[in-house]
Symmetry: C2
């Protein structure tokens, strides 16, 4: 690492000369982006090879064996490039990989965050396998991986985490490779921070930050996660919705019963759970839990205006998703994301289709995730939901009820709460916010600026101590099927990401 | 068959002498029951062996290979006992097996119905395998099958269709074996009729009856299906609820979407289906489809009284099922069964628990079966449901909607209707009704008489030409887990059934 830093320090002075085709007045951002493109164009197959190797390692947070293999691979990739790598470990938590590239004489440290874990994958629903990366052209035809030759930038690499969230990791490393080749050093102390349980709700990120503040309290954060705007333009996210989740189990008879002999008398758990869920939100998506919205702070005028200024891609999205209508009452997508959401992500009980049997099932299960906006917290969501269910006559339990409980309570629901965190917002006009947006504008990538992402990243942690700027900078295509089967990354998004990171690395010097 | 009939005819005159321990004044029913018991006590292992062999043959109606194996086995079992066997066949339908044992000089033909097909089985939910019969004692310990020695009558044979509905088939054949051993002939032309798609809704039974009226229009029917009363007493059912079923598919986006980025805007199909289902019935089981109950004829005073006279076993059932409350408003089980029921038998969408992902799923599916009472019909149920859904704004389709349909309709539900049939009732005071009840009383098995079973058998077909008496006579234990995993038959119920059939075969002479 040090050798690289020394060399880079000298070369910075010569940047405009070294970069050859550029004019002498090019800013470091423009020069670095141009150099990154040139380097990428001659190394696409190498980048892809390294990406495929990383994607082939299963990365579900609770699969510790797969997680450790990811950590080993990442550490090797970073050390190979001369970064100083530290693997932070807490018992029973996936490690955080921290890698530093110091810039001599610079006080400022900017951290770029990504996560190397991915969502669980329902293997049977994939066209292929989640951890067997496959390259397909725009028509869906599989393309050979281990060969030479040009790559179609519209082709896509299919694998779990190809978009969410290993793409930024590869793009950052390729940007560093390009800068090293151009003998250009970062303009600040660059820190890469790769988390391993973001998709599990980042339950230990706060503890890690408290235990290693010297590593995890930089001057500013760029959180590289999520997709760019659906228009294809780069996106800067100045906030994120918070999240929490709960699994509900409603109980019927202790064994499956013939519904002819007992229907109308033995309670049907599917019907009861359907009524329970229907009491949480109407089918236009509006929350109907009494008092639930009391914790919500209305978006500011500036946030509303920024949301309204985001390009309208709704007709395109409707066609792409093949939906004939939307939730809410005529609200725009970006306005809808300023509200809290209750998403039912699963419902399982009995069987359907040819597997259906005329049975009153023993239980019905649903899984819900909540998206939070200021000033909701996971605790306030939990309190509101639980109070609502008690008001409806439910008895709440947190483990499998025993016989005595079952026979003495008519409506029992088991709640299993997942981890969660609150929402966060960074002012659109904070100095760092303006600085980052300017760099992107300089290289011809004027960003869409959104007051909050609909999705969740644990942004509130990054903003500690209070006021630390944190901005979300995604690179993945919006239609990357993240969290779903057949997740994919469009290659051009990876190529663009490399240029964006090179420009930022080279220029955020203050 | 004829040789047996001739011999039996002679021996009938000598019955009271042959039966040894009996008094000379015993009725044929009492004598036949006593003889059946004695014969059974020395042949339990043989009966069990034959039962196990039949249960080992998979018998889901749509599995034609398994169905044919059942037919072959049944024909052999019946021919071995001298019955004249005819296998009725319609293209694409499981065969009906008809077997006759004629009584010389008797004009009356009484048919005993059972079905040899069984419900599909969710193999993973079984403690064992559905078509690998296992004998377990009352404590659940597996008992060896292929050995000699006494059998605990409280032990149970676990297999799909052990209760529903192969038990009556075995009991009838054992009753015939016992009568042959005692040289006692049936008092009427006995016909056994075994159907092969009852659990699929008997879609071809009517066609079979029209094509072979000489075989399928007897003077009276005993429909041997379902469980005895929960008190353990024999049960006669003078009616059955009708049935029909539908599968519903509600559509979300054409691919799974990150619910953070699109929640509140892209419709959630689980939420929509939950609301749809919640509009059909309240969670106390009362139907809330407007106009649905207009087709329902209120039960007669006699039916209400009969229902009220049925022994109260509800506290026992509540304990057995471990339920802390029941549907309806304080109604007794047997009163509740006089009403139509809407049972949601399955709901599937997305994933729950550790498999849950933060996705808006592409579709949500539910399966419903309806229990019908006079004068509902499958057509009236369908008309009411479809009108209700249209009123709620749903677009109804009967196949997978194409893109053009999806983008132009906000709420699309695909309906797949199954086969079905109307309810039926036979008067409690019809001559045949009184005759059968008297025989059971004579052998000390005074029956519980119920105006209607909660379950469904295609009884309306048996009552053609109108007025043909048809009575349901079950032998299985009420807690046999029929239609559910771990279906089982308590051995004492099989032993009792043999005596009941022997008494009826010997005495319904008119």
């Amino acid at each position: 690492m040090r050798a690289f830093a020394r060399a880079a320090c000298v070369v910075t002075l010569l940047a405009s000369f070294v970069s050859g085709a550029s004019g002498a007045t090019d800013s470091p951002a423009v020069a670095a982006a141009r150099e990154a493109r040139a380097w990428r164009q001659t190394h696409e197959r190498d980048i892809l090879r390294e990406f495929v190797a990383l994607l082939a390692i299963p990365n579900v947070a609770r699969d510790r064996s797969g997680i450790e293999r990811n950590v080993t691979a990442l550490a090797a990739m970073l050390e190979h490039r001369g970064l100083e790598v530290r693997v932070l470990r807490l018992v029973d938590a996936p490690p955080i990989v921290v890698a530093d590239l110091r810039a001599r004489g610079r006080a400022r440290t900017i951290a770029f965050y990504a996560h190397y874990d991915g969502q669980p994958a329902d293997t049977l629903s994939w066209n292929g396998l989640p951890w067997t990366p496959v390259l397909r052209d725009a028509a869906g035809h599989e393309q050979p991986l281990g060969v030479a030759g040009a790559l179609d930038p519209e082709s896509r690499l299919f694998a779990r985490s190809s978009g969410d969230d290993k793409a930024p990791i590869l793009a950052m490393l390729a940007a560093l490779d390009a800068m090293r080749a151009a003998k250009r050093a970062p303009a600040f102390n660059l820190r890469l921070v790769f988390e391993g349980e973001e998709e599990a709700g980042s339950p230990h990120l706060g503890a890690y930050m408290e235990l290693a503040p010297e590593l995890l309290r930089p001057d500013a954060w760029l959180i590289c996660d999520g997709p760019v705007h659906q228009s294809g333009r780069p996106l800067l996210g100045f906030g994120a919705r918070g999240t929490t989740g709960v699994d509900l189990t409603v109980y019927g008879p202790v064994k499956g019963l013939h519904d002819g002999h007992y229907g109308n008398w033995v309670p049907n758990p599917i019907s009861r759970l359907a009524h329970l869920l229907s009491s949480l939100r109407d089918d236009a998506g509006r929350v109907t839990i009494p008092g639930y919205l009391d914790a919500v702070v209305a978006p500011s005028e500036a946030e509303r205006k920024a949301a309204a200024a985001i390009p309208d891609v709704e007709p395109t999205l409707r066609g792409e998703f093949q939906i004939g209508g939307v939730e809410g009452a005529g609200e725009a997508l970006n306005e809808a994301l300023l509200r809290p959401a209750i998403n039912i992500r699963g419902f399982q009980s009995g069987n359907v289709g040819t597997r259906a049997t005329n049975t009153i099932p023993t239980e019905a299960r649903a899984s819900i995730d909540f998206r939070l906006v200021p000033a909701q917290t996971p605790a306030s969501v939990r309190a509101h939901l639980e109070r609502h269910l008690r008001t409806l006559g439910w008895t709440l339990v947190d483990s499998e009820p025993d016989s005595a409980t079952r026979v003495t309570h008519d409506r029992i629901v088991r709640l299993s709460w997942g981890a969660g965190y609150p929402p966060a917002r960074t002012p659109l006009d904070a100095p760092f916010s303006l600085e980052v947006a300017t760099v992107l504008g300089t290289i011809g990538r004027d960003p869409v600026r959104t007051p909050t992402l609909g999705g969740s990243v644990p942004m509130y942690l990054f903003e500690q101590p209070r006021g630390t700027p944190a901005i979300i900078l995604p690179i993945a295509n919006h239609d990357d099927n993240q969290h779903a089967p057949n997740e994919n990354l469009r290659l051009q998004n990876l190529w663009d990401g490399i240029e964006v990171f090179a420009a930022l690395f080279a220029s955020l010097e203050r």
